[in-house]
Amino acid sequence: MGPVVATEFTPWLSLLGGVLIGLSAVMVMGMFGKIAGIAGITKGLTSAVPGLATTGDRSWRLSFLLGLVVAPLAVLLATGSFPQQTVPTSLAGMALAGLLVGFGTAFGSGCTSGHGVCGLARLSPRSAAAVAVFVAAAVLTTTIVRHVL
């Protein structure tokens, strides 16, 4: 999928970023009474496709996604450069990855935020099971791609 780049262990920044994510989830629960699951929020967008059930509360979901999209632009404005990232270069691989992530999160009713952050915070055994399965599947996939293939 592309070259392996070593990354620096950043416990404090990661913890700080995690707290921000948690605060956003609390905002969504406190204001709208909803789970801040990005897969679920994204479904609010795709529900525009004819034949699919529409989820209510379309407006705040679209605004939330817009906020997500604007975040790196805010970083650009504040620091003068985009946040650093290294994205896998295989386009066929990224197309397959996107399909699987979209299909899997919609079929399994949640992603890293919905089942991960929000589900674990609710102490939901259903979400804990989903997290265990998707982390195990992801570890296995990365290991096979990097060390076996």
Partner: protein, 144 residues
């Protein structure tokens, strides 16, 4: 007002993803690659986010109702069923392949790498396919 709060929450979520390193697929893949250049940072993201949400949820639930809604809309199902586990496994394979889950995908769109420009539309197609799949008789539940 709902739009402003929604936008602010999305922006804070996105900044959290970027500050934490979760919006960098290299960092995600290195977290998943326990035999390679392992980077445990993501455990701190999940830890910080879940503990903050755990405490914050209990504080806002004391109000009884959300500020801009009539009730807290929590998932009713507690069943660990086949669609949940199948979906989670499929999602995990995609996550381990590309290093993107849905949140970081949105928060990386504006950076405009070729990878994300391919990943994000594919993800939307995947969601639509799953929705059609779920309502198709192929996956209909048989018996009790």
């Amino acid at each position: 007002m709902r739009n402003i709060i929604g936008f602010a929450a999305g922006l804070i979520f996105g900044l959290g993803l970027i500050v934490s390193g979760m919006a960098n697929p290299a960092k995600v893949l290195n977290f998943l690659d326990i035999l390679g250049p392992w980077d445990p940072s993501l455990a701190f993201v999940m830890g910080g986010a879940s503990v903050t949400a755990f405490i914050g949820y209990r504080l806002v639930w004391r109000r009884g109702t959300p500020v801009m809604g009539t009730q807290f809309d929590l998932p009713a199902s507690g069943t660990i069923d086949a669609p949940l586990l199948t979906g989670a496994a499929i999602f995990g394979v995609g996550w381990g392949l590309g290093g993107f889950c849905p949140g970081p995908a949105w928060a990386s769109l504006a950076i405009g790498s070729t990878g994300i420009l391919v990943f994000l539309p594919a993800m939307l197609i995947g969601i639509v396919l799953a929705d059609f799949g779920k309502s198709s008789p192929l996956f209909a539940k048989k018996g009790a």
